[in-house]
């Protein structure tokens, strides 16, 4: 009885999967994190950032930032007409990437911005005034025209939430085709606050996948690691 020979295609696929498996880092399931430090005119803030960044987007290599929040020039941007926001750092993480085909099922982006309140009379250190300022600033940043143009829904609630002994201003909004944006903000002076926006970018091609749960775990990890002195 003749034995059937294994096809060469099957051999190469098996070899490919084997080599891919051994080349991938064994520690990838539990990503390491880096301690990021900010000095905002004397206000020290630190947090941990997982370093398994998306390979498709630029990732920040800086670990320490020293920023003079009173320097008016830093709030001007070549890209937008806003003169109230200074973009400090942007990072991306991918989830649900297939071994051979298919790309990531979803991407989380984290944008860290230093904000100067539109209303100069606001005392951001006052909890209720801070929440009002967040709402005012959101509606001025995304005015009615911008909200219609980009399909932005106004947040349902602006509230204060405590995470690891820090009180954050917090709200969520949907953009475009239902893309979820989660915002946390914390005052660093009477007129300045640090704003962190997590953006859940779907890439699942309509397939069911738990990438959003994994992305939420990253959000929870980062937010619970924040420390402020």
């Amino acid at each position: 009885m003749l034995k059937k020979k294994p096809s060469s295609t099957a051999f190469f696929i098996a070899l490919f999967v084997f080599l891919t498996t051994i080349i991938m880092e064994p520690g990838m399931a539990t990503p390491k994190s880096a301690l990021i430090k900010l000095d905002l005119s004397g206000q020290a803030i630190s947090f941990s950032s997982p370093v398994n960044y998306s390979k498709d987007f630029p990732w920040p290599s800086e670990k320490e930032y020293r920023i003079n929040i009173h320097d008016k020039d830093i709030y001007k941007s070549a890209y937008t007409e806003l003169e109230n926001a200074y973009s400090i750092r942007q990072s991306y993480w991918d989830y649900g990437r297939g071994i051979i085909f298919g790309g990531a099922k979803g991407t989380l982006s984290m944008t860290m911005v230093l904000y100067r309140t539109f209303d100069k009379n606001t005392d951001a250190k006052n909890s209720s005034e801070f929440i009002t300022a967040l709402q005012t600033d959101f509606e001025k940043t995304y005015d009615k025209q911008a909200r219609e143009e980009f399909g932005i829904e106004l947040p349902e609630h602006y509230q204060t939430t405590a995470i690891s002994n820090l009180d954050w201003g917090h709200y969520e909004y949907l953009m475009g085709r239902g893309e979820r944006h989660v915002v946390y903000a914390i005052p660093v002076s009477e007129q300045h606050y640090l704003m962190i926006t997590f953006n859940f970018i779907n890439n699942s091609h309509g397939e069911k996948n738990d990438w959003k749960d994994q992305a939420q775990a990253t959000v929870d990890f980062i937010m619970s690691s924040f420390k402020m002195n």
């Binding site: 926001a85 991918d94 991407t107």
Partner: protein
């Protein structure tokens, strides 16, 4: 179109729409005689001219899935998932769940008439996407890339991009924004138009790429050729960024345009990033239509342009790209040579070429020292 007139309808032949290369058909088991046999035994199927044209515009994956659904109506013209149309006798609608397209049809005198095929609006936004043009602008406090709500018919921005495989619309807008702002930094890009090349998953995207590579023009490339022609007709110059599979679509779209129109496309210029297209072939095609090539930006160890595109400059690049083949599937940003815009600042690449150059010098000095 939901009318019931059936003039101009033609016989529905599944194998025509399911046509695939032998290898792909074998892998996916798509082209069989089963569907055709079912049609011969059950209801006849006729298709409207518009539905025929619409199917022709879809990707291979979408065509195969929808064709199978239509063929299944022959033995069972009123399946459980069919909904009947109000105030219309014998008109039904079924949804092909893999693609989200709805098929409306009429059953009359032993024949199924395919009236219309449309994207199911309820499923749009969940990955059931069609190639289309979208305006993307910087918005918000950090100038993030945001998508203007509705697709546009033509390009009115100075920059445009076409994405590679495995990227839904929302990821493409971000990724192409990064590539454009990196490659055209001096232009301070605030907005661009995205020609979104939708994904059907890795296998089908790769299959689609292989067709364009062999100059068997895909539907998306045909559609893209019209975009290039429209830019030419409008008269405003557009700088393109074509990434990965987008490079193949760009090149094949231009070739298709030249083959059918023999006119120039001088208002378009293009930068290829990690393109799967071959540089020599691309130069030849774009020379015909007079499209300026702004550059080919490839990581020296990226297998997509170097092996698939056949653009490796030397043996180091060939070897590095072969090893790189294993890394493009990893999540490690420090190792993967594909997708991120290459800045020419890779310590791995510089180190390998440094070793190569030093080794060459050593070999040369040994050769020089040998007695003549």
């Amino acid at each position: 179109m939901t009318g019931t007139a059936t003039q101009g309808f033609t016989n529905f032949n599944p194998s025509w729409y399911q046509r695939l290369s032998n290898n792909a058909a074998r892998v996916r088991n798509t082209v069989t005689n089963l569907d055709i046999a079912a049609i011969k035994a059950g209801h006849k199927i006729k298709i409207s001219p518009n539905s025929h044209l619409f199917l022709e515009k879809l990707s291979p994956y979408q065509r195969v899935q929808i064709t199978r659904k239509i063929a299944s109506l022959s033995p069972t013209p009123r399946p459980n998932d069919a909904s009947s149309q109000k105030n219309a006798d014998n008109i039904y609608s079924v949804v092909e769940i893999n693609t989200g397209f709805a098929i409306s049809y009429k059953v009359q005198a032993g024949t199924v008439y395919i009236l219309e095929i449309v994207p199911n609006p309820k499923l749009m936004g969940a990955g059931k996407e069609l190639p289309a043009l979208y305006v993307v602008k910087r918005a918000g406090p950090a100038g993030q890339w945001a998508l203007v709500n509705k697709p546009v018919e033509s390009i009115n921005t100075a920059h445009a991009a076409i994405n590679g495989q495995s990227n839904d619309l929302d990821r493409s807008r971000n990724l192409m924004g990064v590539h454009l702002s990196t490659m055209f930094k001096q232009d301070v890009v605030k907005e661009f138009t995205l020609f979104h090349n939708p994904t059907d998953g890795g296998f089908w995207d790769t299959y689609e790429s292989s067709l364009d590579k062999k100059q068997q023009t895909t539907a998306v490339s045909k559609q893209f050729s019209k975009v290039l022609a429209d830019v030419q007709a409008k008269g405003n110059p557009v700088k393109w960024l074509a990434h990965s599979q987008g490079g193949l679509i760009f090149t094949e779209g231009a070739r298709f345009h030249w083959e059918n129109n023999h006119t120039e496309l001088t208002n378009n210029s293009v930068q290829f990033n990690a393109g799967a297209n071959n540089e020599a072939i691309t130069k030849g095609i774009l020379k015909d239509v007079k499209i300026d090539i702004l550059g080919f930006n490839n990581h020296p160890f990226d297998p997509v342009p170097n092996l698939i595109g056949g653009n490796a400059k030397d043996w180091v690049s060939k070897l590095g790209s072969t090893i790189g083949l294993f890394f493009i599937f990893t999540d490690n940003p420090n190792k993967s040579p594909h997708t991120l815009p290459y800045t020419g600042n890779s310590s791995v690449v510089n180190g390998v070429y440094d070793v190569r150059n030093k080794s060459a010098l050593v070999v040369q000095s040994i050769v020089n020292s040998l007695p003549k």
